[in-house]
Structures are given as C-alpha cells and as structure tokens.
Symmetry: C2
Subunit: 414 residues, 2 copies
C-alpha cells in the first residue's frame, strides 16, 4: 500500500461526526502541513465533511491568513462543518463514489484526510478502497477524533483528554457545591458515552483527588436498580451526601437503556418523561430516599469545553493531523494515525499507522478489570491511564478574558 514516488496534487481535509474541543487542532496540523508541503499544490477544506465533496463545496485554505488560521488550534467544534453521512457499500450503489472521483479529478486531489471517529474511518476506508479499485492514485489517511475514546487500535483518541479534564474538573466543582447544606442530598451527573464508559470513568479522577463521585456507573456493566438504590442508601446513611456519575448509555441486563425505560415516577400513568437520565434517576432517588436530589447533564458542554482543553490533548491532536499529511506525502496511504503510549517512567506518546480496514467499525470499551467488583467505581489502573492525558494547561488566546476563536474567510474554491 505504500508508494515511493513523489505524488503531486491537491489535498482535501474534512471533519466528521460530533465536534470536540481539539478536532480543529488536528485540522490545523493537517492544513498547516499541507500548506508547507512542496508536494501538495492546494489545500481544500471540505464544508460539512464528505457532504462538501459531494456538493462541490470546498474552502480554499491557501487564501486564509496564516495568523488567523493559527487560532484554529484553540477553537472548539468543527470549524469546517461536520456531517453524519453513512456511505453505502460501493458494490451496492457507487453513485457517491463516482461523484467523489469526479470532484477529486476536477481539483486534481491526490490526498484525502478525514478527521473523525468510527463511522468516519469507515467512510475513509471505503473511499480509499474505491480509489484503489478504479486505479485512481489518491493517498487516504484517517485522523482519529472522538471524545468517546472508543476507536480500536490506538492508546486513546484526540478529544478524550480534554473532555476528561472538563469532566473531572466539573465533578470536583459540583462535589464542592453539593456538600454545603446540612441535609441529605443526592446529586446525579449524566455524562456522554452510549457504548463505552471512558468519559464517565474520567470522573474517577475527581474522586482520586478527594472531591468526586461516590458511585460511578458505566455501560460496560449491566445496571441493577436494586443494587443502585442500596448503594445510594448506604452512602446516604454514612455521610448524608451522595454524588453519582452515570453514563448516558447505562442499561439493564436485558439491554434496555435506563434513559428510555418507562417509569411511573411522576404521573402514575407510566408515560415516558421528558428530561434526561440524570433528571430521571434523581426523581426516582427522591421517591426512594426522601433526600433532596438534583440531576445535572453535562450535555454539549463536555465536548466543546475548550477552555479546559489539556495541553497534552491539544498537542497530540495537532500532531495527528500533521503526521497524517507528512506520512501521506512520504508515500503512506489507507491508514489511520494512531497513538502508542508509554506510561511507566514518564508519559510518552508516539504515532503509528494502522490499516483503515483494521480500525473501522470496532468499538473499544473500558476493560472490565478496570471497573471495581461492585460495578460502581473504577480502579487505580483507570486513573493511571487517564491522568497523563489531561495534563498541561495550555496558553489560550483570549479577548476581553473570553476565548478568541479563528475567524476564517472560508472562500469557496472555483
């Protein structure tokens, strides 16, 4: 899959899936490396991911002011726009692939970089294989991104460390807030993560530093309501305050999501209720324990809270983008940039390339041995794993003590 020739041509960089605090740092790393490479003749940003390719909506990044572009590194969310577009199997319907090829030919695109999670690596893989099958020489590289941290084959994913720092910090603050009154109080914090509990597990860092959840529930373990009530009542009787972190994806043994189960908490008619899992569990605990309750959903804040990005995450995200471009220019293709890390004797992180077909569509979960025997907390191994990823307070640009984001011109090509 590697070629040794120097391939000259334009590149497209796209962003896909849910935004994060550092996906733009990866975009910046790739755009900057593309602009700096003699092999790459033009750098295009796809508007709304692969949709921008299909719709011929490409931003000409060569026309951006370099100083303004540098602000991208500290701008949260997906500045080029994102999409959730599932590519069909080309054997079934190759319409989109023909269109992509048409656009690639129109702009002489020889490099395609796609920043995203599992679905995006699948898109990347399909485009790469299609280009190979029709003999169109285009180097395709995936750049990992997901706060969910569930991509296969990499130590961790860019975006996770910053979200973890946000979650740990917020849990510490909520903990301090939740213990001030002298009455019994239960606080439930709902954290993202449908299939994997990495984000919720990060709340264990707050507990590690003495101001975090007493109970943590991940989707890796079946949720048992009776044990849950018993856990809460035990801690309530011990210290009158209980802080609970739950993943949005927790489910009963039969697979039913706790957030979607029918409950008769309020109206007695069993109607499904509005409001998230945190509000629902809080209401159930209020009826069970009589304590004052509060449900808090970290919602979008945890994935776009760039003001709490970790320097480690920012640097690694930018590195992943840069390495993708540099590796492709050197002849690599059909791969995703992944991280291999060393934690003993100080944290070190280096990049490796994994074949796209290996990573696409697999979900990496929290190892069960990192979850305690009661299924309501994490072990020291988890803390040791996450802690290096949240390190470093970056020096972020501000304007009047508020974040200063990139203001791109976004001039469409042609």
């Amino acid at each position: 899959m590697n070629t040794e020739t120097i391939l000259k041509g334009a590149c497209i960089i796209g962003q896909s899936g849910g935004p994060t605090s550092v996906i733009n740092a990866s975009a910046y790393g790739a755009i900057r490396a593309g602009l700096d490479s003699p092999a790459i003749t033009r750098v295009y940003g796809a508007a709304h991911g692969i949709r921008g390719v299909l719709d011929d909506q490409l931003y000409d990044m060569n026309q951006e002011d370099p100083a303004e572009l540098a602000y991208l590194r500290n701008t949260p969310s997906s500045e080029l726009g994102s999409c959730r577009y599932k590519m069909k199997d080309p054997a079934v319907d190759d319409t989109d692939y023909k269109r992509i090829l048409e656009i690639f030919r129109k702009y002489d695109v020889r490099y395609f970089f796609y920043i995203g999670g599992n679905d995006s690596m699948d898109t990347c893989n399909k485009i790469s294989k299609y280009c190979q099958s029709v003999g169109y020489d285009c180097r395709v590289m995936g750049i990992p991104k997901t706060i969910d941290n569930d991509l296969f084959g990499t130590d961790h994913c860019p975006g996770y460390g910053s979200a973890a720092r946000y979650i740990a910090t917020s849990c510490m603050e909520v903990y301090k807030d939740s213990v001030v009154y002298d009455n019994a109080q239960v606080t439930v914090v709902e954290i993202m993560g449908r299939d994997a509990g990495w984000l919720t597990a990060a709340s264990a860092l707050a507990t590690h530093f003495g101001a975090g959840p007493d109970l943590i529930y991940l989707p890796e373990v079946d949720f048992d309501a009776e044990r849950f009530y018993a856990d809460v009542e035990r801690i309530l009787s011990e210290k009158k305050k209980v802080l609970i972190a739950v993943s949005e994806g927790i489910h009963y043994a039969d697979g039913a999501l706790v957030s979607e189960a029918q409950v008769s908490a309020t109206d007695g008619f069993g109607h499904a209720q509005l409001g998230g899992l945190a509000a629902r569990l809080a209401e159930q605990l209020k009826q069970h324990t009589g304590a004052k309750v509060r449900g808090i959903e970290l919602s979008l804040l945890q994935r776009c809270g760039a003001h709490l990005a970790s320097a480690a995450d920012l640097d690694e995200a930018e590195m992943a983008g840069r390495v993708a471009v540099e590796s492709a220019v050197e002849g690599k293709t059909d791969c995703m940039v992944a991280f291999r890390c060393e934690r003993s004797g100080g944290y070190r992180c280096e990049t490796v390339l994994l074949p796209l077909s290996q990573v696409a569509n697999y979900v990496r979960k929290v190892p069960l041995e990192w979850i305690n025997a009661d299924g309501n907390g994490l072990t020291q191994e988890l803390v040791d794993y996450v802690l290096p990823l949240i390190q470093g307070v970056p020096d972020r640009p501000t304007e009047s003590s508020l974040p200063r984001y990139a203001k791109l011109k976004k001039i469409l090509a042609k």
Copy 2:
C-alpha cells in the same frame, strides 16, 4: 452607630445561601484580616452559617495552617457550610436571638460577619438590631454574595462576575458546537435567576463577541409564547441555526412560570413533565418548527465553575471580606460592604458601607432600558456594565492539572 473605642473580642464569620465561585475568597479576606487584627482575639467559622452559631458548632480558624488557608481563595462553594434558615421576627419569637447572644457571650464574640445574599442580609440586620436592643456590644457587618447580582445599593455582587464569565464562555462554546451540521437546529440554554435576569443577560457578552445567543429572554419582561415562536422561526429561516438563552424565571403575563406551566407536549394528558425549562422549550420548539432541538441547563456548574472565575471578581470578593473586618475594627457596625464603580476612563471599584436596613429584602433587577424593544436581547449598556466584571484570568493553583482546593482541619472550638 459608629463607635470610637477599640473593641477587643472574638469574631464569627459565617456563610449563607447558595454557594458561588468566590464566596470563599470573601471568607478568606475576612478570616485573614481577623487573624491579623490585634483587636480580634479569636476567629471562628460558623458551621453552616447561623445554624453553626445556634448549634454551638464553631471552627477555630486560628488552628488552621496559614498556607492551607490561602487555598480558600480559589476553592469554590461555601467551605464553612451554608444554610437557608429564615430568622423569625424577634418581637414574635426571640428564642434564636437569646441563643445567639448566649453563644456570643460564651466565646466573647464582639464581631459578627455574615456573607450572603438578600436573606442573609436580613439575618444580619435582625441580629444587629437585637444586639443593640439588649445593649450587647457587637459589631455586625454583612458581606455581599450572590451570583444573582440582585442586592440593592451595590454596583454589583461578588460572585456575579465569575458566573457571568462562565456563562459567556459556555455560551460561546455551545454556539460553536451548535452550528456544525448543515440542518436546521435550535439550542436552548437555561440559566439561573428566578427574579432578576442578570445571569442570563451575561450571555449577551458571547453575542457581543460574535458567538452567542440570537435570542435572550429575562424574567424582567413577560414571556409571550407566540412572539417567541415567531422570533425563532424568523431566525431559523434566515440562518438555519438558533441559539436561545432563557432565564429559569421567565413567566407569562399572568405571572405563571414558563417552567411550571402545564403543557401537553408529550403525552397529551397535560401532565407536568420532569426536566427543566430548557428541555421543555426545546420540545415545544421541536413540535412547532420540526428542527432538531437541544436543551441545555447550566445548572450548578454556573455557580461553582471556579476554574472560570474572573480575577476582578476574586479580588473584589476578597476585598469585601477584608474591608468588612477592618471597618468593624475601626468602629463601623450595622452595615453591608457595597461596591461603587466607575466605568468611564477605565474600570475602578471602591467599597462603601450601606446600613443593613437599607439593603435587606430588596431585589435589584436588570433595568428595562437595557433590554431591547423586542424583549429578546440586551443593549450595549448591559455589555458595558458586565464586561469589566469578568476581566482577568487568575493564576489558580492546580494539582495534576486539576484544581487544588483548601483542605481545612475544621477543629471545633472548645
């Protein structure tokens, strides 16, 4: 009410009402000034506000390590504990007052400092007047605190600037996150403030810097659902994305809270639904517009998000605590420390003392002339008022890139 004599004796410092990011900075300012004053023989912290006095639960602050105590400045929430205890009119029932006097005598308390909002200033006022009425020489000072910013007679309240910086920053991040997809999307952010809209108004700072709410609704203006839908639909048709900030206290013309009104959104039976105002409005807008919707409640995060405290707020909060003690030692009593600020030609803030009877139980609202004619946004005057209060990024102590909070010994007196 001023006396010229040097009054020697112990002091009690208490915290009351909802915690904030900087109420401990005020406590630190007062405790430190108390420890440093030759007139003050002992510094006690009341556990859970006035309840700690009634229950004889006083922490001996002289036994705390000074270096550890300094961490209080950057520790969110009420470290001494808080309460929501309404004092009776002593003319009706003076039981509590007699008990407070008993404790004051037991510890030779000659100085009482109470940090809190409207209700706390009422408590402070009643205790002060009672001590005067029985001829017990005790100097009583209120130290303002409330993220709601609704205390009478002061330019602003310690706690508000930091909450405003948290709200503006979070709204900027949510804005960036809410515009990435190419579909119609409405996002509703619910912000604290039952009676006054100061907190919600702070979201206008995000708009001022180009990444904030399109529509802002405060409790100062009656909420009109039809105009609200029309506002949202107009902006949706213009740009496909609408970010809305609402105060939890918005109400219809008849005074009914929007958050409590019966709606038939989901089940058709008109049952009151769980979940906050944001979830409720989002659901209603989904049905009205067909757009993708999301409701986000900033919840406790906005009042305990000390990692986004403003240096101006922190410094002023500490100053308020220090000035209260220093003024009392100089002979002042029966007052609250307030701020008088100058904004033209650079921001300056100085303290003044207001009689407690003037400030207790009044609520200061956002001036109607700072709200736009359509009742869905703020004017430049509001921005000019708030902006100085969020200035400065403080250098906060961290441990492994997470906040380092004070670890007090909290040794009970006697």
